[in-house]
Symmetry: C2
């Protein structure tokens, strides 16, 4: 549809057009100034803005067509806090407590015994087999629709163990701003996480404005079945795909079929994704969220058990990956910070 409005005075029309063009330029500059307001005015913020500017400026060497502006983000420790425990692990613990009345045998069986006796860190006592059993017990044996409801209900009532906040509030404000900023510049934003895809999909739209189809993660096997003449998908106690480490580029290629040009992670589990995402024809941008803020979140990651960040951090400078220092680069961490 083309719209023609004829003005009685040609000069007025020209003045209006010139005025509009001028406003757009001013708005663009104002927008770049206002972008990422919870970031301090450091070199990190400037590098991100420069990259996005080059990517979106036709004629620039770094220009990338809109359809190729794919940005991928790890979730735990990159978009929301993974401290003191992974949020999905907190879900498992609560789920075990909910299901315990139907499983009297758990009182004597690891890893359930440790969880029920109030020692969640004791789950390791059951070994790797125990951990897999814990994951399968809490994530399978129901239909996909039933699981989606279980997770949504849990997110509605669960609270973070140290802050007492809803988990949707445990997202990093500067990263949510970065997602918004990239989308406003024509990027398609994805989560690429080692976490379970159907767990994250229950919250991704609300927490990050990312729809379910743009969440890539680990999957368990599902099976089509007819129950009472209704077709359902049953979640089976079997791992289908682990979207971590070397699995991340595999998952990105499988689900998206394009190489991203913007990659963000926070641990060595993101190393291969960072490498692969910066090795395409288009200039790729990689960034690492470095947890340095003991006061507002947590100071960990070097040689840590959760979110171990060694290899990626060691190679960051050589590979020109941006290391974001949470303490120095971020004005705010959480929305509830003063």
């Amino acid at each position: 549809m083309r719209l023609h409005i004829r003005f009685p005075d040609g000069r007025l029309a020209r003045a209006l057009i010139v005025g509009l063009l001028f406003s757009c330029g001013a708005i663009e500059r104002a927008f770049a100034q206002d972008a990422l307001p919870s970031w301090n005015d450091t070199a990190s913020r400037a590098r991100i803005i420069d990259f996005v500017h080059a990517t979106t400026t036709e004629g620039d060497q770094g220009y990338v067509a809109p359809e190729d502006r794919i940005a991928v983000f790890d979730n735990d420790g990159t978009l929301w806090s993974e401290m003191p425990i992974y949020i999905q692990f907190a879900f498992m613990l609560d789920r075990v407590k909910t299901l315990a009345p139907e499983h009297s045998e758990w009182k004597e069986k690891e890893p359930f015994k440790s969880i029920l006796s109030g020692d969640p860190m004791g789950v390791g006592k059951g070994g790797e087999k125990g951990v897999v059993e814990l994951a399968m017990t809490t994530h399978s044996g129901m239909t996909t629709d039933e699981f989606a409801k279980i997770v949504a209900d849990w997110f509605a009532s669960a609270r973070h163990p140290t802050t007492g906040r809803a988990y949707s509030e445990m997202t990093f404000v500067p990263m949510r701003e970065l997602l918004d900023y990239l989308r406003a510049n024509g990027f398609k934003t994805y989560i690429v996480s080692g976490g379970g895809v159907e767990f994250m999909r229950a919250i991704s739209e609300k927490a990050y404005g990312i729809p379910p189809e743009q969440v890539i993660g680990s999957t368990i096997a599902t099976e089509y079945a007819i129950v009472d003449d209704i077709p359902v998908l049953k979640r089976l106690p079997k791992i289908d795909f682990v979207d971590d480490g070397k699995g991340k580029p595999v998952g990105i290629n499988k689900f998206i079929g394009r190489r991203p040009i913007f990659v963000a992670g926070n641990s060595d589990g993101d190393y291969e994704m960072l490498r692969w995402g910066t090795a395409g024809k288009a200039p790729g941008f990689a960034m690492i969220v470095h947890h340095t803020d003991a006061q507002r979140e947590a100071d960990y990651d070097r040689n840590s058990e959760i979110g171990k960040l060694d290899k990626a951090l060691d190679e960051a400078e050589r590979r020109n990956w941006l290391v974001v220092d949470m303490k120095k680069d971020w004005k705010k961490v959480f929305g509830f910070d003063k």
Copy 2:
């Protein structure tokens, strides 16, 4: 950004606004009239338009929020012709001929022997093992980037065996119009095919306006590796996922994480997808492309070897699935039809 334009005459402004509103209504009606121009004015066309109208009309019982307007389409026989052979099978045959000089042993080994001696339908002589070997030989052993180039190059030069047309011309015009029509009404369109995902992704944007990330299909395993210090994904001779029959709802749930509300297929391989896609809370629409046109394409599908359509056709009426009769419902099949 809000735009204020002040007109010297308030009446002129009101007249303009009324005029614009009137034009929009007229345009909408004209658009519905003009939708699907290569479809005859039959009950099939009316049912599709009625469904889309209900889906997009706020306040209507059938209204569906834009983010839930997911439409999935089988590819072979639904969006493009699968006659006389699957297009991906034609690719395999050509690929064997290209690779033959490096494989003198193929002269005596099935299924390669049959292909090289000009009897492609003899591939069955090697049994199922032979067919899998054929698929793996032609689809693995290279990086994902290399495979994408091989497929793109093939599509650029390959021609359909009976029409002599490029394969991108073997798409069904009425179905391309349907994709456009759904997208114009806020639907997100996906391919959900038994074919190889990385084969279809090379052509999906050009052929259907569907980007790679909206193509779901069968996958072979890939592996992250560093070659000459460059990270690549190697395609392995191993099937990862078969996106056919019961695999289709599994694939949709895995990749999209939402249940579609519009499902189109043409064979019993789409049966489970048709069932599952119409069993959600929102009113789902299912349609079957029934191949009845011997003159313009092919009259087959009932009890056929390729594109067998028995169970889904038998149950269509009972389940309120639209059966599109290509001969009666379509003015045109291909773009090159007179």
